[in-house]
Amino acid sequence: MIAIERLVKRYGAFTAVDDLSLDVKPGEIHGFLGPNGAGKTTTLRLIAGLLLPTSGRIVVNGHDLAAEPEAAKASLGFIPDRPFIYEKLTAGEFLRFHGGLYGIDGTGITGRVHEMLDLFELRRWENELIESFSHGMKQRLVMSAAFLHRPRAIAVDEPMVGLDPRGARLIKDVFRRMSEHGVAILMSTHTLEVAQEMCHRISIIQKGKIIAAGTVDDVRRMAGDGGDHLTSVFLRLTGGSGLQEIDEIV
C-alpha cells in the first residue's frame, strides 16, 4: 500500500535519507523507529509530498507520487508531528474545509464530520475556535481530519506526543480498527512500548538507512538480545546507551 523504492534525500552534502526501501502492506501497522535526526520525519514528509526526493520512488495505493501526485495524496492521510491548523476556524469549519480538499462535499460532508468528531470525542467543541483547544484536542482534531476522507494508507509522525492516557488509548484503538479494515499505517515513534504493543512490523532507521526490519521478535533476534523490552534492542542497534558517564558528571 505504501511502497518506497531506493529513496534518497540530500540537503547539500548531507544525506538525510539514504537509499531507503520500505513496503507497508494493507492492514499492517508498521513502526518506524530511530534516534533523533535519523531521517524518520524527512521520510514521512517525502511520502506526504511535502519534500521533493533527490531520487527514488514512492507509490501510495498503486499511484506513483511523482507521476500522479493527486491520486497518491487522495489515498493517504498524513498526520505530521507539528500540524498546521487554522486557529481562527472552528473544529467543524476546519473539517469541512479539509473534506473539501479531498473532494468530499455537498450532503455527505456534515454527516462525516460529525462521525469523526464523535469518534475523537470532540463533538461538543464543533463550533469552538481551534485556538482555544488544548494540545491533545488539537492532536485529536488533526487525526479526525486525516481519517475524514477514508484513506487507504496513513503516515503518522509521533502520534502519542502530548496525549493523556485516555487520548493515547483512543488513538491506539482507532489505529487497530483502521488496520483491521485494511488501512496501511506507517507510524514513526520514539515510544518503544507503543511500537511493541501495536506494530506488526518495525523498521529501525539510523543515519538515513534502515539497519533492521521485521517483526519485533525478528529485530530482537538480529540484535542478539534476549530481553523482553524493545528499548535494550533499540539501544544495542543504534549504538549504546551513553549512560556510563552520568555518574561522573552528576
Binding site: L52, A72, K88, T90, E93
Partner: protein, 561 residues
C-alpha cells in the same frame, strides 16, 4: 479536490468572519485608530489631487499635458512598489506560509493552488496601493468633472495594472527560491529591501524635484517633465494605465492601451502559472530545507558587554537580547525601509533651497526645526512600537527561564530599557542634528531640539517597555504584538506626548526667536513662563519614563503572584 480555486481562499474568509464575530479587548479601539488615520490620509490625498487638478486646469493644454504625465508618473511610482511588494508577498504566500504544509499534502491540483495563491498575493500586495490610489483618482475625476465612464475605466485599468507587476515580482521570487541555496529566503528579503531602498533614493536623484523650486528654471519645467517620459515609458503598463485614465477623463476610450493592459496581465498570469507548475514544488521543497543555519558568533557583542560596568545578570541579558536581534535578519530588515525614508527625508532638507524665498526662509526654517522634532518623535514612536514594545513578549515560550531564575523583574525590565534606548538615542540624535544642520536652523533651536530629542527618547522607550510588560502577548509574532491592544495604546499615548512636547517647546522657542528678530526685550514674567514651559517638558518626559517603567515592573511582579 473538485471545487474551483476560490474554495482554497475560504479559510481566510472564515477566519476573518470569526475574528469579527468574536472581538477581543481593544479591537474596536485599534480599528478606530487605524481606520481614522487611514481616512485622514485618504482625505488628504483626495484634497491634494483635487487641488492640483483644479490648478492645472487653469493652464488648459499645458495643464492637460502635465495631468497626463502626472497620471503616468503616479502609476510608475506604484508600479515599482507593487513589483517589490509582489516579491515579498509571493515569498510568503507561495513558499513560507504555514498553511502550505496542509495544502501541499492534500490532493489539490497545482493549477488550482497557483490560482488561489496568486489571487491572495495580488490582494495582499496591492490593497494598500489601491486604498491610496482610489482617493487620488477620485480627486482628479471630480476636479475634472469627469463623466461616469472615467470611474469605470479606472476600475478596469487598475485591475490589470496591479496584476502585471505582482506577477513579475512573483516570478522573481520563484526564480530566486529555486536558484539560491536552500533556506535563503531571509537573504532574499534583505536583497529585495535593499533594492527597494536604493530604487527610492536613485529615482529621487534622477528626478531632482528640487528643480521645481528654482524659479529661473521655469521654462525648463516642460523639459523636466519630459525627462520623466523616458523612451521606454510607452512600453510600461504605468504609461498604458495613465493613457487609459486620461482618455476616460475626456469621456473617450483608449482601446489600444486598455487592451495592452489586459492582454499583458493575462499573458503574465498564464506564463507564471506554467512556470509555477514546473518549479514551484522544487522551490517549496528547498525552502523547507534547513540542515544548518549560518551562525555568526558576534564576539564583538560579548566583548562590548564585558567592557561595560554591568552585573553578570544584566550583561547576560544584554548579550542575549542583542544577539537574538542581530541573528534574526527578518527583524532588523524591517528597519531598512525606514532608513530609506529617513534618507529621503534628509535628502529633501538638503535639496530645499529656501534662500530663494528670503522673506519666508527664517520663519520656515525654524518652524521646520519643530516639525523635524515632531518627525523624529514619530520615528522613535514607530521604531519603538515595532522593536521595543514587543521586547517582553519576544521572550515568548522562553520567559519561564527568566521567571524561574533569581533575577528581579526590575533588573529584567531595565535591561530591556537600556538595550532599546542606546541605539535609539544615537539614531534620532544624528537624524535631528543632521536635518537641522541641512536647514540652517537657528543655533538656539538646534540645541533645544538636540536636548529635547534625548528626553523624548527616554520617555517613549520607557513608555514602550513599560506598556509592553503590562500588555504582553507571549508567543505572538512581533508584528502582531505591535498591532495589539497595548501597541495601539502606546501609539496613542506616544502621539499625544509628542504633541504636548512640541507645544511646550515650540511656544517658548518661538517667543525667544521673535524677540531676537524684532529686537524686543522679554519681560521677566514671560521669561519665567518660558522657563516653566521648558521645565514642564522635562518633568513630563521624566515622569512618563519612570511611571511607565515602574508600572511595567509591577505588572511583571504581579504575574508571579
Amino acid at each position: 479536490m473538485t471545487q474551483p480555486f476560490p474554495f482554497l481562499l475560504l479559510p481566510h474568509i472564515w477566519s476573518s468572519r470569526n475574528r469579527a464575530r468574536r472581538r477581543q479587548k481593544g479591537d474596536l479601539l485599534r480599528a478606530g485608530m487605524f481606520g481614522g488615520v487611514g481616512l485622514v490620509v485618504c482625505a488628504a490625498l483626495f484634497a491634494g489631487a483635487y487641488w492640483l487638478t483644479t490648478k492645472l486646469a487653469v493652464y488648459e493644454e499645458f495643464g492637460d499635458y502635465l495631468l497626463r504625465l502626472g497620471l503616468s508618473w503616479l502609476f510608475l511610482t506604484f508600479l515599482a512598489f507593487l513589483a517589490f511588494s509582489g516579491v515579498v508577498t509571493a515569498l510568503s504566500t507561495f513558499f513560507l506560509s504555514d498553511d502550505l504544509r496542509l495544502l501541499m499534502g492534500a490532493p489539490v491540483a497545482a493549477g488550482r493552488l497557483f490560482m488561489a495563491r496568486f489571487t491572495r498575493t495580488v490582494g495582499q500586495a496591492s490593497w494598500m496601493v489601491i486604498i491610496f490610489m482610489a482617493p487620488i483618482l477620485l480627486g482628479v475625476g471630480i476636479a475634472s468633472c469627469a463623466p461616469l465612464v472615467y470611474y469605470f475605466t479606472a476600475v478596469l485599468a487598475v485591475v490589470p495594472f496591479v496584476v502585471i507587476p505582482v506577477a513579475i515580482g512573483a516570478a522573481m521570487t520563484l526564480l530566486l527560491v529555486n536558484v539560491l541555496p536552500a533556506r535563503r529566503a531571509r537573504d532574499l528579503l534583505m536583497l529585495a529591501s535593499l533594492m527597494f531602498a536604493a530604487a527610492i533614493v536613485l529615482t529621487l536623484r534622477f528626478i531632482q524635484p528640487e528643480r521645481l523650486m528654482r524659479v529661473e528654471n521655469l521654462p525648463d519645467i516642460t523639459d523636466f517633465f519630459a525627462t520623466l517620459q523616458s523612451p521606454i515609458a510607452p512600453l510600461l503598463p504605468s504609461f498604458w494605465a495613465g493613457e487609459v485614465l486620461f482618455a476616460g477623463l475626456q469621456g473617450a476610450g483608449d482601446l489600444l492601451h486598455g487592451t495592452a493592459l489586459w492582454t499583458t496581465a493575462l499573458a503574465f498570469t498564464v506564463v507564471l502559472a506554467a512556470a509555477d507548475r514546473r518549479w514551484h514544488f522544487a522551490g517549496y521543497s528547498r525552502s523547507q530545507e534547513a540542515p544548518k543555519a549560518r551562525v555568526t558568533s558576534l564576539r564583538i557583542v560579548d566583548w562590548l558587554a564585558h567592557a561595560l560596568p554591568l552585573s553578570t545578570v544584566r550583561r547576560q541579558l544584554l548579550v542575549k537580547d542583542v544577539k537574538v536581534f542581530l541573528r534574526d535578519v527578518s527583524q532588523w530588515l524591517q528597519l531598512l525601509p525606514l532608513f530609506a525614508l529617513v534618507l529621503l527625508y534628509l535628502y529633501n532638507f538638503s535639496a530645499l533651497d529656501l534662500e530663494r524665498i528670503p522673506y519666508m526662509s527664517g520663519v520656515i526654517k525654524n518652524v521646520y526645526a519643530l516639525v523635524n522634532l515632531g518627525m523624529a518623535g514619530f520615528v522613535v514612536a514607530t521604531v519603538a512600537v515595532r522593536f521595543v514594545f514587543p521586547a517582553v513578549s519576544a521572550e515568548g515560550a522562553a520567559f519561564w527561564l527568566v521567571r524561574t531564575s533569581p533575577i528581579s523583574m526590575r533588573d529584567f525590565l531595565w535591561s530591556k530599557f537600556w538595550t532599546g534606548l542606546v541605539p535609539m538615542v544615537l539614531f534620532v540624535e544624528v537624524l535631528t542634528i543632521v536635518a537641522n544642520e541641512f536647514m540652517g536652523v537657528d543655533p538656539f533651536l538646534k540645541v533645544i531640539a538636540a536636548v529635547a530629542v534625548v528626553f523624548m527618547t527616554f520617555a517613549m522607550v520607557g513608555l514602550a517597555v513599560g506598556l509592553g510588560a503590562r500588555y504582553p502577548r507571549f508567543g505572538a509574532d512581533p508584528n502582531q504584538v505591535a498591532g495589539s491592544y497595548g501597541g495601539v495604546a502606546f501609539m496613542i499615548l506616544a502621539v499625544l506626548y509628542i504633541i504636548v512636547m512640541i507645544v511646550l517647546l515650540g511656544w517658548p522657542s518661538a517667543m525667544w526667536l521673535f524677540s531676537r528678530v524684532r529686537n524686543v526685550r522679554l519681560s521677566a514674567l514671560r521669561e519665567a513662563m518660558m522657563a516653566a514651559s521648558f521645565l514642564l517638558a522635562i518633568v513630563l518626559s521624566i515622569s512618563t519614563w519612570l511611571v511607565a517603567m515602574r508600572s511595567g515592573v509591577r505588572a511583571l511582579d504581579d504575574m508571579n503572584r
